[in-house]
């Protein structure tokens, strides 16, 4: 390898330029982390780590802040989104790779990618004007009169059905993250060697058995990586959620109640936050989200790398 570099100065320059470009990413990440940390230090000093994470108080007038309500909203909205999106996305991927006739493959593939290209604010507006009334008038009353009657599960569907709540936010989020999981799963499924599948068919396996016993086990790490990438996307989504979540700092048992997420809190309150500790607490929330997303994406990358290594071996 070193011999090559000696031969051609352009190669040296090229490797330096690309190296610097890659290093700049590290500089940016560390820079962002540094700013978040220094800006939030007054809040870290005042509230500490555990107290901030567990306090449900978010009171700008008395300058007492805690992240628990925002964390709760973020976690529940993301969980609902994944709960809906994963089966649908895997279904789409299976259909495209294994079942669909050729002429349908590319239209569906393109449609999925278009879904990922729609700006989130448009999802938010569509959610507020189209989905919210449908949820409030039909779906949520229906859920209350069926699932709401079952003990234990019932508490998830208490309250007034307004359509501006965690459930609606979760559904919008799920539509937004389906493309990520679906296209990565599709790519992972495509990596299953034809010869393995054909052997299974030759042994008399049905399509269902091939998908269940060959394709999915073979590519499960890739699918998992896709799910975690979606998770990262869902954690960071802001505008679409802000429109339909109701933006309320509270922890409730019902999915039909308004809540707040970290990103929505930041988007809503940043411009008018006038006291120093208020601003610092918002930066503190941002720091928490940054660390959370960083860990999530690191996990995703880890699984994707392991999957890749397995296929290339």
């Amino acid at each position: 390898m070193p011999v090559l570099f000696k031969k051609n100065p352009i190669d040296v320059a090229f490797s330096i330029i690309t190296g610097l470009a890659s290093l700049s990413v590290l500089v940016f990440i560390i820079g962002i982390l540094y700013v978040l940390f220094t800006e939030s230090s007054p809040a870290i000093e005042k509230f500490g780590v555990m107290k901030f994470l567990t306090s449900t108080d978010w009171d700008p007038v008395r300058e007492s802040f805690g992240a628990a309500t925002s964390l709760y909203g973020t976690a529940v909205a993301t969980a609902i989104a994944l709960f809906i999106a994963i089966p649908v996305a895997i279904g789409i991927a299976v259909f495209i790779t294994e079942i669909s006739p050729d002429f349908l493959k590319s239209p569906i593939g393109i449609a999925i990618e278009l879904l990922a290209a729609i700006p989130s604010i448009i999802y938010g507006m569509w959610g507020l004007f189209v989905l919210v009334p449908i949820m409030a008038d039909y779906i949520e009353p229906a859920l209350q009169s069926t699932l709401g009657k079952i003990p234990l599960i019932g508490i998830l569907f208490e309250g007034t059905p307004m359509g501006i709540d965690l459930l609606t936010a979760g559904i919008i989020l799920s539509i937004m993250i389906i493309p990520f999981t679906a296209s990565i799963s599709r790519d992972a499924f495509n990596l299953t060697p034809e010869i393995v599948k054909e052997s299974a068919y030759a042994l008399g396996a049905t399509k269902w058995e091939v998908v269940k016993n060959v394709v999915i086990p073979y590519s499960k790490l890739g699918v998992f990586g896709g799910i975690v990438l979606s998770l990262g996307r869902a954690l960071g989504e802001t505008m679409a959620v802000a429109f339909v979540l109701g933006n309320n700092h509270q922890i409730t048992t019902s999915l039909l109640d308004a809540a707040a997420t970290i990103t929505v809190t930041l988007a809503n309150e940043f411009t008018e936050a006038d006291s120093d500790i208020y601003l610092a607490s918002l930066f503190y929330l941002a720091l928490i989200l940054f660390v959370m997303s960083f860990i999530t994406l690191a996990i995703a990358k880890f699984f994707l790398l392991r999957a890749e290594r397995r296929f290339t071996r």
Partner: protein, 336 residues
């Protein structure tokens, strides 16, 4: 080569315009509530004088931060700064236009203005002590209105806002329990309800959610044809929000130039005054001797020529005596 030359020429031309324009531009930033009227005034002022107004509506908090950092010619805030704070930051302050906050509701089949509330009843609803529309306190005030046993959904702002500051200041003034439990501010810890982003967000939620009650700027209530409440004012009359009731509030408010006009116009004593009114303010840096007269000139022009524009956009112009008070204040500061 020729295309490159043309391109360079074009870019130079654009930049030279930019530089020429920069000398004739007033830069302001702050409150989003008066943004429509400031930009309409700015447009007309530009046509009349050639001076451009560049107003960024980044929120009252942002406006205060920007003028303290001296990055703009003027800041704008819906919440007045206290005289001590102004002295500390070496700032001046004067009101520019009046607005009002209007409680609105969505009750199918009930007319706008049909429901009367006392400040006490409104406070109880927002604290979550009254949860149904047919509560006896509401029924007693509105014996002729067919109120049903429906749960009240409170809609409020989720983002920090001057509208919220005016509304919660009013509630803290008229309702000791509110003052003790929640307090006043641009963002507060609401006991109940869902939050919409911006005035348009609240207006939208109120339209979408049946049996809801919310609060918006007067302009949004009018434009969206939302049903408003009638409220009891300090003089004990039930008034409805209108230009006249805002004007009455502005006229009866004691704006004191020696305190840099620091005044919350809420619960004003006027007989027909709308109780949740407020002025929006302009902030100037005292040491900016060059740009201040230009800013003042613009607002003086707007005071003289901008009343119709303001009214068309559903803002309430300052009453004439108050305008003169502001002009005297400018004179005393040596910028008029």
């Amino acid at each position: 080569m020729k295309t490159i030359l043309t391109l360079v020429a074009a870019i130079t031309l654009i930049f030279s315009f930019g530089i020429a324009g920069a000398a004739e531009t007033l830069n302001g930033a702050g409150a989003s509530f008066p943004y429509p009227v400031y930009s309409a005034w700015g447009y007309n002022y530009n046509k009349a004088t050639g001076i451009r107004l560049n107003y960024q509506s980044i929120g009252s908090g942002g406006g205060v931060r920007q003028i303290i950092n001296r990055t703009v010619d003027f800041g704008a805030s819906d919440a007045p700064l206290k005289p001590e704070k102004l002295e500390k930051e070496n700032l001046m302050q004067f009101p520019a236009v009046i607005g009002g906050v209007v409680p609105v509701f969505n009750l199918p089949g009930i007319e706008p203005g049909a429901i009367k509330l006392t400040s006490n009843a409104l406070c109880k609803v927002l604290l979550g002590d009254i949860t149904y529309w047919d509560n006896k306190d509401i029924k007693k005030l509105n014996p002729d209105v067919p109120l049903k046993h429906k749960k009240i959904t409170v809609v409020r702002r989720s983002d920090g806002s001057g509208t919220t500051a005016i509304f919660t200041t009013y509630l803290s003034q008229v309702c000791p329990e509110w003052k003790e439990k929640v307090g006043a501010g641009k963002a507060v810890k609401w006991p109940v309800g869902i939050g919409g982003k911006g005035n348009e967000g609240v207006a939208n939620y109120v339209q979408k959610v049946k049996n809801s009650i919310g609060y918006v700027e007067f302009a949004y209530a009018k434009q969206n044809k939302l049903s408003y409440l009638r409220l009891e004012n300090a003089a004990g009359n039930f008034v409805k929000p209108s230009f006249e009731s805002f004007q009455d509030a502005a006229a009866s408010g004691d704006f004191d130039p020696s305190k840099h006009f620091y005044l919350w116009l809420t619960n004003a004593p006027g007989k027909n005054a709308w109780p949740i009114s407020g002025a929006t303010f302009i902030l100037l840096a005292k040491e900016k001797k060059e740009s201040n007269p230009k800013v003042v000139k613009f607002f003086d022009w707007a005071f003289k020529n901008g009343d119709d524009t303001a009214k068309r956009l559903v803002y309430v112009p300052l009453p004439e005596p108050l305008k003169n008070k502001v002009r005297k204040y400018w004179k005393s500061q040596g910028i008029y």
